[in-house]
Amino acid sequence: MKIFQQSFKFLALVLLVVLPTSIFAKDTKNDGGQVNTKEEVEAYILHHIQDSHDFSLFSYTNDEGERVHVGFPLPVILWTSEGLVTFMSSEFHHNDDGSVIVEKDGLKFAKIHSKIYELDKGASEVKFDEDHHATNAHRVLDFSITKSVVGILVIGLLMLFWFSKLARQYKKKQIPTGFGRVLEPLVLYVRDEIARPNIGEKHYRRFTGYLLTVFFFIWILNLAGLTPLGFNVTGQLAVTACLAIFTLIIYTASGNKDYWMHILWMPGVPVLIRPVLAVIELAGALLIKPFSLLVRLFANISAGHIVVMSLIAIMFTLKKELTPIGATGLSLVLSFFITLIEVLVAFLQAYIFTMLSALFIGMAVEEHEHH
C-alpha cells in the first residue's frame, strides 16, 4: 500500500509541476479534427507512432466547432543555420502540415509531419512538390524536449527513484520490503539468466550494470507505450539506434585478441578465403548485429502500436457494416487480446535486446581454448 501512496505522490508532483503550463489550446480546423475515415485513421496512426513536439493527452470538439487539445506544450530547441533558437511548441498551434509559420530571430519555421523545417530566406510559406516534399525548406537539427525525451526523462527518474531506494534498503537489512520485493527478483533474473550464462562467469560483472539499465529502460518504456499516455519511445528509430550503438561500442571496445583474430584472420580456413571471411565477419560485427538489434526493437514496438490502434479504429471504420454496437464490441475484444499480447511482447523485446547484447559481448570477451 505504501508504495502506491508514494507512486501517487510522485505522479501528483509531476502533474503539479506540469499542469500550470498546460493549456487548452484551440485550433480552428474546419472538419473539427475528428478521425472518421480510413485515410484519416491511417494518417492518425502514422502521426501517433512518430515523435511529437507537444504532450497532448486528449482533444475534443467544443460547441463552436473548435478543436480543443488538452495537454501541455514542450520546449523546442533548434540548431539552425544561425545558431540556437528556442520557443515553445504551442506556437505551432498543433498544426502539423506546415501551414503555420513561426517566426523567431528572423528565421521562419514550419512543422510538417512532426518534423521542424527551416524555411529558406525570402520564403513566406512552404511549397511542396508532387511527392509532398518541401521544396523551399530544409530540416534542422532538432534537440527539442519532445514527447520521447519527456518519456526518457520520466522513466529514467522513476528507475533511479525505485532502484536507488532498493539499494538504500539493503543498507538496513538483508531482505527488501515493499516494492523492492518485486524489483529484486527482476534484477536477479537479468543477472542470473541473461548476463551470467551469456557472458561467462569471469567477465559478467563488468557488463551487468549496462545490461540491467538497458533491460529496465526498454521494458518500462515498452509498457509505458501501452498506456493511454501514448509514449512511443522504443518505437523511435533514434532511440533504438542509440541503444544498439551502445552495445556495438561496448562489445567492440571489450573484444579480446581472439575475437579480433576470428574476425580479421580466421584460423583454420585456407589463407585465400580469409580476406573474404574477414569482410563478411566485419560487416556482421559492425553493421548487421547492431542493425538487427535496432530494427527489431523499433519494428516490434511500432507494429504493436499500429495493430492496437488499427483494432481500436475498427470502431469507426466498420460502423456501417456491423452497426455501432457490433463494431465497438469487436474492436474492444480484439484490442483487449492484442494488448495482452503486447504486454508479453514488451517484456520479450526487452529480454531479447538485453540477451542479444549479452551474447554479443560474451562472444567478444570469450576466451577460446587454443588448439
Binding site: S148, L153, V187, G209, L237, A241
Partner: protein
C-alpha cells in the same frame, strides 16, 4: 528505406544518447553497484552459513561417532574387566581350595606323624612295659621253672618269636 531515414531524427538521437549515458552512469553508481554488492554479500553470507551448518553437522556426526566408539570401548573394557574378575574369582577360589587342601593334607600328615610317633612311643612304652612285665613274669617263671631246662629254652624261643613278631 527512404521513409525510414526520413523518420530518423538526428536531434533525438543526440539527446537520447546524452540522457542514456547519464542514466547508465547514475544507475550504475547509485543503484546497480550497491544492489549487486549487497546481493553478492547476501549470497556469500548464505553460502557461508550453509557451509558452517554443513561443517557443524559433520562435526556433530564425528562427535557422535566418537561417542559411539568410546561407548564401545567402555563396553569392551567392562567386558574384559568382568571376564578378568570372573577368572580371578575362580582362581582365588581354586587357590583357596588348593591351600585348604594343602593345609588339610599337611594337618593330616602332621596328625599322622603325631599319631605315628605317639604310636611308636606307645609301642616303645608298651615294649618296655612288656619287657618289664615279661621280666617280671620271667622272674616269676624263672623262679619257678628254671629247674626245667628244656621248658626254659622253649619259653625263651617262644618269647623271642613273639618279640620279633612285632
Amino acid at each position: 528505406m527512404d521513409k525510414l531515414l526520413n523518420d530518423f531524427s538526428p536531434g533525438l538521437f543526440v539527446v537520447s544518447t546524452i540522457l542514456l549515458l547519464a542514466l547508465i552512469a547514475l544507475m550504475v553508481k547509485f543503484a546497480w553497484k550497491p544492489i549487486l554488492n549487497s546481493l553478492n554479500e547476501r549470497e556469500e553470507g548464505i553460502q557461508s552459513a550453509l557451509d558452517a551448518a554443513e561443517n557443524a553437522k559433520k562435526e556433530m556426526e564425528n562427535l557422535q561417532a566418537d561417542n559411539q566408539k568410546l561407548l564401545q570401548e567402555a563396553r569392551l573394557e567392562r567386558e574384559t574387566m568382568l571376564k578378568e574378575a570372573r577368572g580371578l574369582k575362580a582362581k582365588i577360589i581354586a587357590d583357596a581350595e588348593e591351600e585348604a587342601q594343602a593345609q588339610a593334607s599337611k594337618m593330616i600328615a602332621q596328625a599322622q606323624a603325631a599319631i605315628d610317633s605317639e604310636k611308636k612311643a606307645a609301642m616303645a612304652e608298651l615294649k618296655s612295659h612288656v619287657a618289664g612285665l615279661s621280666i617280671d613274669i620271667a622272674e616269676k617263671v624263672v623262679g619257678k621253672e628254671l629247674s626245667n631246662k628244656g621248658s626254659q629254652e622253649k619259653l625263651v624261643e617262644e618269647m623271642l618269636g613273639e618279640a620279633t613278631l612285632n
